[in-house]
């Protein structure tokens, strides 16, 4: 129960962070990726600060044997730099630029009843299922 409540709270907090940061407005994302045009680098601070705060809390987490909810930690093990990683990231980047949405902001904007984001989320679901059907 603690774990479920915590996950809900973290989802809410993550979403509010995305909204305040400007990530849920596709215009900001497009401006950020428009390096050779009218570049707006502000979103770098989202990654930079987000990463540093996460790193600090990860340092804390690594010194614990159990989570605050009493469950196990699930740290990723994969270190492979392979074709699926690179090709997948390249396809993701293309879609991110095309619509100005990555998965988190799309879900938040869909929650705000933005019809374009709702369509995007359904297509994202379909894209994942197609990838699964193609194996690997």
């Amino acid at each position: 129960m603690v774990a479920i409540a915590a996950a809900l709270a973290m989802g809410l907090l993550f979403g509010v962070g995305l909204i305040i940061s400007g990530m849920t407005d596709p215009a900001n994302v497009k401006g950020f990726l428009d390096v050779f045009g009218q570049w707006r680098p502000q979103l770098m601070a989202v990654l930079g600060v987000g990463m540093m705060v996460t790193w600090l809390l990860y340092v804390l987490a690594r010194r614990m044997t159990r989570t605050l909810a009493g469950t196990q930690f699930h740290w990723p093990h994969s270190t492979a730099i392979d074709k699926p990683l690179v090709l997948g990231a390249a396809l993701f980047g293309a879609g991110w630029a095309l619509a100005g949405y990555c998965p988190g902001p799309a879900l938040v904007a869909a929650g705000a009843l933005n019809p374009v984001a709702m369509v995007f989320v359904v297509a994202m679901l379909a894209g994942g299922l197609i990838q699964r059907a193609m194996g690997k």
Binding site: A7, G15, L18
Partner: protein, 144 residues
């Protein structure tokens, strides 16, 4: 009320800090990486793990809750047929790509960098390069 001028370094950094608290918090409380594409794909593919659905519900609810404060930026004012077609193509690419590459801006971007993962660094550099390249092409073809 936030307006179109909200994309400032301060807002980006403040939002980033909240995202960091949420990402770190999901590890401290749930022992999980806050990789939104992974959480999403696993959930819709039938995972019974409640924390995934709870986290996604929180994300969606934040949008619904903030709806009154954020006006036009989140609620597209007049979507065109073109914006819907673009959303379909882009959504397919993002869904396919994030599942294939095991992560997006949150999992590889925020969490992967916080773990100092070389694998995630490669993913971030590739999706940034790809996004910048596609944006440049869109600018050249007048579709940006």
């Amino acid at each position: 009320m936030l307006d179109a001028a909200w994309i400032s370094w301060r807002n980006a950094a403040t939002g980033g800090a909240l995202i960091g608290l949420a990402s770190g918090g999901l590890m401290l409380f749930n022992g999980r990486i806050a990789g939104i594409s992974g959480i999403f794909h696993r959930a819709v593919e039938g995972s019974r793990e409640g924390w995934r659905w709870a986290f996604l519900l929180g994300l969606v609810a934040s949008g619904l809750g903030m709806r009154t404060f954020v006006a036009a930026e989140i609620i597209a004012s007049n979507p065109t047929l073109y914006s819907y077609l673009t959303a379909i193509a882009a959504g397919l690419l993002v869904g396919f790509g994030t599942r294939m590459g095991s992560g997006c801006t949150s999992g590889h971007g925020i969490c992967g960098q916080a773990r100092l993962s070389l694998r995630s660094l490669v993913a971030v550099l590739v999706f940034l390069a790809s996004g910048i390249a596609v944006t440049a092409v869109m600018r050249l073809t007048g579709t940006l």
